[in-house]
Amino acid sequence: MIPDQLTHWLLGRFGVSSLPILPAIENPTTSELVAAGAALAVILGAIGGIAFITWLGAWRTLWRDWLTSTDHKRIGIMYVVLALVMMARGVLEGAVMRTQQAFGLNGGFLTPEHFSELFSTHGTIMIFFVAMPLIIGLANYIVPLQIGARDMSFPVMNQISLGLTATGAALVMISLLLGKFSTGGWTAYPPYTGYDFNPGPGPDYWIWSVALAGLGTTMSGINFAVTIFKERAPGMTLFRMPLFTWTVLCAAIIMVFALPPLTVATLMLAADRYLDFHFFTNDLGGNMMNYVNLFWLFGHPEVYLLVIPAYGVFSESIATFSGKRLYGYASLVYATMAIAVLSFTVWLHHFFTMGQSANVNIVFGIASMCIAVPTGVKIYDWMATIFRGRIRMTVPMIYALGFFYLFVIGGLTGVMLANPTISYQVHNTLFLVAHFHNVIIPGVVFGLLSGYHYWFPKAFGFRLHEGWGRLTALLWIFGFSFTFFPLYALGFMGMPRRSASYTDPAFEPLMLVAFFGAALIVSALGSIVIQLWVSVRERESLAVPLGDPWNGRTLEWATSSPPPHYNFAVLPQVEDRDDFADAKAKGRAYMEPDAYEDIVMPNNTSLGMIICVSSTLLGLALVFYIWWLAILATGVIAVAFIARTFVLSTTHVIPADVIAAEHRAWLAGVHAAGPITRDAETRSANHGLASLELPTLAGAER
């Protein structure tokens, strides 16, 4: 073989020109320098991470205790870490775009291609690699604890889900270094992402990162649904489940049924690009409008998948920090179910303007407006929960208040958009960008950040620093308002979304306001990092090892912080809806059982990591047409999977005396500690044992 052919065979279409550093050297415009800077940041971040782990000497621990772990708690934490890292990139990209547009009158500093790449990666990352892993991570950690289970139903599959999500995230990150990402937006509509228009690696990066991560999400959905149906502690009937678990169940059902359309759409697009199929092409009978249809069959349920668990978090934290039972539990459950089912009936509102008849539009317009009804029910339920409660303005409550005000506005603009006639005016303008950020940031992001603060002490045994947390929350709330409210006005003024620059000077003042807001959001990002740093440094004085820092109401608070590997020494016997609150009130809590039993737990396995690494290689091979590598990686995945089925002993036993010793030590701590009142909740006296404060509780009940 001549060398040329050999390199082609070995490296596919990968070449030196795929590296972003070269254009930056050849042609050092600002746009290229920003791209090269981002690539450099990824490289430095990776080197820094590796150096840090080496410095800690933690490689063994990382592998043994984390990467190969099947423990739902560890997997949950890894999901959240992944999401937070990706969030840093996503927020920074948003800020870069805001900067570009602030100075974008007649130009700016980014090329249109670069701007397109930015909104495509930003959207893809924020939806698939920030919001989704945050939700799946929190749910992973909390749901088994809330239902009194020892783990998920399928721990190994859980690990594989994480591996596939990480694969998708890795592919998006690698696209900064090798080649370029798609310019087709997070929705990747053909023909813009078709082969004829863009034969480069960009759309392929999008396809494989989203398809592989989507597969992982489908498996997570199956896992959550089965876990919640089959692993509940004795006595935990469906209508005794905490609301967060309910919302995760509904989200899981959406994952199971709404991810398939995404899989279908992405794989059809891949078939068009790789195998010369004609699903969505312009010629030979392809129909690109079917892509839009299939994508939003996934896309709309997806946004509810994101927000429903956030509703769950707010339901938990609002009840806890109001010291009251959740108002209207049943109505909240039914509203959640209604939203989940309705979310499958409204997808067309994303393409009212595509050309179907007015009658079709009307049907979907009305269906969309209907969703506002159950959502309204929920808002009233939460307000009634707060009413006359024993309210503490902790960080989760600040987020909840921001959520109330801002999310309602976002919901109302949504109802406006559900009206096809209005949609015809403002679709594809910044009004839409303002709307969806207005529901996603105050809804999903605030919800998840409030969950992060609420459950952090459970996971790590110490609280997060309260002062920095409040500052972060306020920065988010004001930063959001300054960034996105101007966009509503700009949308009405006619500024299209996804435009790098503009020629109308009337846009500029509001663009500068939005720029200021973005600066606040970036400071929020900085402040949350500082908060983590400060909290870790002061972890001694923030420690709450006894497990119940907030006078919690549900089962996850009925065990130590962090919980033991097996969660509960003996599985709880559930007698009421807010079982732990009931147990504390009736003196059932913190009891030593008559006898301890051995506990069977799943073993570690490296299957998830093998699949993660091979599928990342598979993705890269497909992006760069390196066929031998694609075949090899697929082979490794298949062999690893089949080999795993030949392993019969997949569990180990934790002997009863070990469990008894750990449990008794914890109970001794509980009995030795002084319970603290809600006034002292955020002081260092709080070790995680709550005093009962019955009068307030009873008063509020009546």
Partner: protein, 208 residues
């Protein structure tokens, strides 16, 4: 939350002890997966239907040129028969007739599966010969996206049967093996359900 008899019929029965209990969660999880897969197939069907018109055909070969109904009929019969033979394997397992009968019925099922696949591959080859390839039209893309997807599932099922025959030999009828055969059964019957859709919509519907 263990109900001892949640899956009577396609189950093992309480006297299978541990395997029966595991089967509960495993079978339910597998059902959920199958339903997710059902949506994938459903959307492929919907795409096929929206493409089965002059615009989608784009002047290329249509159903009458490309499909061989006799072969489809034989394939249908084979797949239906294989559902029955798998049922016999399930019964042999449930009533503990020993490894012999189970292996026998599984082998018959495997052979039928392979026969089905070879007929299908022959049809595909014929279509390629006459130029009915996916790059010709949107309609043919929809066909080639749907029917080979089902074939791929059947091939995976065949591989799974082989693996189970190996595991039956190496491990004996341990609980894990039993619950896997149970799920394999769900998978196999599910594929026949999808095939009902394929012969009705893809073949007969387009030819009628």
């Amino acid at each position: 939350m263990k109900h001892p008899t949640l899956h009577p019929g396609l189950n093992l029965g309480p006297h299978h002890g541990e395997a029966h209990e595991d089967a509960e969660t495993l079978a339910f999880g597998f059902w959920v997966f199958l339903m997710s897969d059902l949506i994938i197939f459903g959307l492929m069907f919907a795409t096929y239907v929206t493409m089965a018109n002059p615009m989608g055909l784009a002047g290329g070969p249509g159903p009458k040129d490309a499909y061989d109904l006799t072969s489809v009929f034989v394939q249908t019969m084979i797949l239906l028969a294989s559902s029955l033979t798998f049922g016999m394997a399930s019964l042999a397992m449930r009533f503990e007739r020993g490894r012999g009968p189970i292996t026998f019925w599984l082998s018959v099922t495997l052979l039928l599966g392979l026969a089905f696949l070879s007929l299908e591959v022959r049809d595909f080859a014929h279509m390629i010969e006459i130029g009915a390839v996916p790059s010709r039209s949107g309609f043919l893309s929809a066909f080639w996206g749907l029917v080979p997807l089902h074939a791929l599932h059947v091939a995976a099922g065949c591989l799974w049967i082989m693996i189970m025959m190996i595991q039956m030999r190496t491990f004996g009828m341990v609980p894990l093996v039993k619950t896997r055969i149970l799920r394999l059964g769900l998978f196999w019957h599910f594929l026949d359900l999808i095939w009902i859709g394929i012969f009705t919509i893809v073949y007969l519907g387009a030819l009628a």
